[in-house]
């Protein structure tokens, strides 16, 4: 008959003995394994924004709204342009009236609630425009939080929404640190920029890229070393937005400064 002391001793030895070989096993993620063996995907869509070239004309926003049937006057948009004005006192003034659909027609800064702030030109230290769109993150939080899997990532990296499946809970909107998602006013489901997936997969450029008169926006395939966008990303000093969230965004910026939110 085994006594209690022996039983405890033997249990400890057994647990210890089992733990060692078990630790030798590693859990494999099939996706990671496949990627390590042969990276079969030939395409990974990325975006490049050159903030030096952007003049805030808003042609991209206009083109996007028309191309993707986002109601023109609705106060939501798949892409927008932000204006940054940094004054001598170190203050950062930011606005994006109507997502800059009509460009920036006055020097006054929209501070919400129908009010505007006048800034004297001689007070300005620097000012610039930053176009924004979905970052098609490599680790998209919106896909992670969708309770029904209505939003998903394609093999070529773009995050899409299934309008027939979305229940409209808004969790993905809450989960996105970049604020790119919204509810479509007509379909009443989650909506976002998808790099004009219907166009890029057919060899065209996105609507905003085509509409930009200054070449500030470019779309490319990072898996293709010959792609001019890839070349710039690989050789020049590019930056990304909100790296701290670990989302691995795939929209790269030239000329990003610390003031950009």
């Amino acid at each position: 008959m085994i006594n209690r002391r022996d039983f405890c001793k033997k249990t400890m030895i057994m647990v210890g003995g089992l733990a060692l070989p078990l630790a030798a096993f590693e859990l494999f993620d099939p996706k990671t394994l496949r990627a390590e063996k042969t990276d079969t995907e030939k395409v990974r869509w990325v975006f490049l924004v050159d903030t030096h070239k952007c003049v805030g004309c808003g042609m991209c926003v206009k083109a996007c709204k028309i191309e993707n049937e986002t109601p023109y006057d609705a106060n939501v948009t798949r892409t927008w342009v932000e204006r940054y004005v940094i004054t001598r006192d170190g203050k950062v003034h930011i606005d994006s009236p109507k997502g800059a659909r009509d460009g920036f027609k006055t020097g006054k800064i929209d501070i919400g609630g129908g009010k505007f702030e006048d800034i004297k030109p001689e007070e300005i230290d620097k000012a610039f425009f930053v176009p924004k769109l979905c970052n098609q993150c490599d680790n998209p939080p919106c896909v992670q939080v969708c309770p029904v899997g209505a939003t998903y990532q394609t093999a070529d990296g773009v995050v899409l929404v299934d309008r027939e499946w979305c229940i409209g809970c808004g969790y993905c909107i809450m989960g996105c640190p970049y604020g790119v998602r919204f509810f479509h006013p007509v379909y009443r489901v989650a909506e976002k920029c998808n790099f004009c997936y219907h166009r890029i997969t057919k060899g065209m450029k996105t609507a905003c890229v085509d509409a930009c008169p200054f070449d500030a926006r470019r779309v490319g395939n990072i898996k293709d070393p010959a792609d001019p966008v890839t070349k710039i990303i690989m050789t020049e000093r590019v930056n990304i937005l909100k790296e701290e969230y670990g989302t691995k965004p795939q929209v790269f910026y030239l000329g990003l400064t610390k003031e950009v939110k």
Binding site: W80, P141, V145, G149, W165, C169, M174, P177, R188, Y245
Partner: protein, 415 residues
């Protein structure tokens, strides 16, 4: 109009697509599930830990918890933009999402509460069914009641001493296994918020624990309050009936029993209240001390824009005042009513300050959003996401409780 535009006012720089998307119904959701979990934990204190003094309120809170259960789902459905697809959360869950666990946790919990209730009320079901069966010429209403109670017995008519003992054992096991599930149900509601890394106010691993503690607080408070209200009605009825049937308990007897139950339950309330406040303050202090990137905007929301909501209503009226009320010696019924009402207000405001407060600032950290609760509904959207939608959610459990009480009389001696 874009969803959210009707009740959102923006200030300074807010991203164009940002609105207050999660509104009053999402405040109601954790509030209601909190009540469910709290009511259940209270009833389990008697069933599992054998706190005899809670016997009276235990059965009551179990039935009440069951009445609250369907209502925990209501605010979620009312908030969905495609409510007809809501069932997909259960049918095609996407398990990396915290919400996807809802179907599993919720149904598990519902089954535990339902089966526990069945064991508690089995004797009553059998007796009623047999009694109705004994009547030769049944009226239509009696016939329907007979059908209902016969169905509720599930064919188990054995109510011998031995069988009832085994029932009690089953209740104990179910109540015991229910506690972790109830905590999970609510803790996971906290996880839904706590895991949103994009929201600086929500993201903290303490969120689920804070939610559980305040859930238990609110659940106990509501049980005390509803218990007092029903006892008052009973006292009123007893005073009238006693003239006819002197054998029934007198109003004075009922009152002494009532005070005893309330005093005992209030002790548990204060215990959980201390725990909840400690954790909330810990979270606040930690945020201020570590002062990461988001602290600037959080500070202006917590100590500026939402100061009244957080420090005056939630901590002041909702926590501190009831704390004093309950701790002063010689608890009276009137003071208990005032205390529980304030505790409920406090927990509601805590949910409000988390859900609405978490959206009071833009994720650009450069602007604010103000929420204006739609009072009078102009259309379906302002009804669902407005005051009247919230009131609908509040009233429903009482209607259900009244219905359930017809079948499972809360105050009748069973075992």
């Amino acid at each position: 109009m874009v969803h959210g535009e009707a009740w959102t006012v923006k200030e300074l720089f807010v991203y164009p697509n940002e609105y207050i998307y999660w509104t009053i119904q999402i405040v109601m959701y954790p509030f209601m599930t909190g009540l469910v979990a709290g009511a259940f934990v209270l009833s389990s204190l008697y069933h599992v830990f054998d706190v005899k003094k809670l016997k009276d309120i235990a059965r009551f809170s179990l039935v009440f918890s069951f009445a609250l259960l369907p209502v925990a789902m209501m605010p979620l459905l009312m908030h969905l933009l495609q409510p007809q697809r809501g069932i997909e959360v259960m049918l095609t869950p996407h398990f990396t999402s915290a919400i996807a666990a809802f179907g599993i946790v919720f149904t598990t919990y519902a089954m535990i509460v339902a089966s526990e209730l069945w064991f508690v009320y089995r004797k009553h079901f059998v007796e009623t069914a047999l009694e109705l069966r004994g009547i030769g010429e049944r009226t239509f209403a009696q016939h329907m009641r007979h059908l209902l109670f016969s169905a509720l017995t599930l064919g188990a008519y054995d109510i011998s001493e031995h069988a009832l003992e085994r029932d009690e054992k089953a209740v104990k096991v179910l109540a015991g296994s229910g506690i972790p599930v109830a905590c999970f149900l609510h803790g996971y509601a906290g996880f839904i918020f706590g895991s949103v890394k994009a929201n600086a106010l929500w993201m903290t691993p303490l969120m689920p624990v804070i939610f559980i503690c305040s859930a238990v607080v609110s659940g106990i408070a509501l049980c005390i309050l509803t218990y007092i209200v029903t006892m008052e009605i009973r006292k009123f009825l007893a005073a009238r009936k006693q003239r006819l049937y002197p054998k029934l308990p007198s109003a004075a007897e009922l009152k002494s029993a009532e005070v005893q139950v309330v005093t005992m339950t209030a002790k548990y309330l204060v215990m959980f209240l201390i725990l909840a406040i400690t954790l909330e303050l810990l979270d606040l202090i930690f945020r201020g001390y570590t002062a990461v990137k988001s602290w600037d905007i959080l500070r202006s929301v917590i100590y500026g824009k939402d100061f009244t909501n957080i420090f005056v209503i939630q901590y002041g009226f909702g926590n501190l005042v009831p704390f004093i009320l309950f701790l002063l010696p010689g608890l009276t019924i009137r003071r208990a009513v005032a205390g529980t009402l304030m505790v409920l207000l406090g927990v509601f405001m805590m949910r409000w300050n988390v859900v609405i407060g978490g959206q009071a600032f833009s994720s650009s950290f450069a602007g604010f959003m103000h929420y204006h609760l739609p009072i009078w509904p102009h259309d379906m959207e302002t009804y669902k996401e407005g005051l009247f939608g919230a009131l609908t959610v509040i009233v429903t459990p009482y209607v259900l409780f009244w219905l359930f009480n017809k079948v499972m009389p809360v105050f009748k001696e069973t075992h």
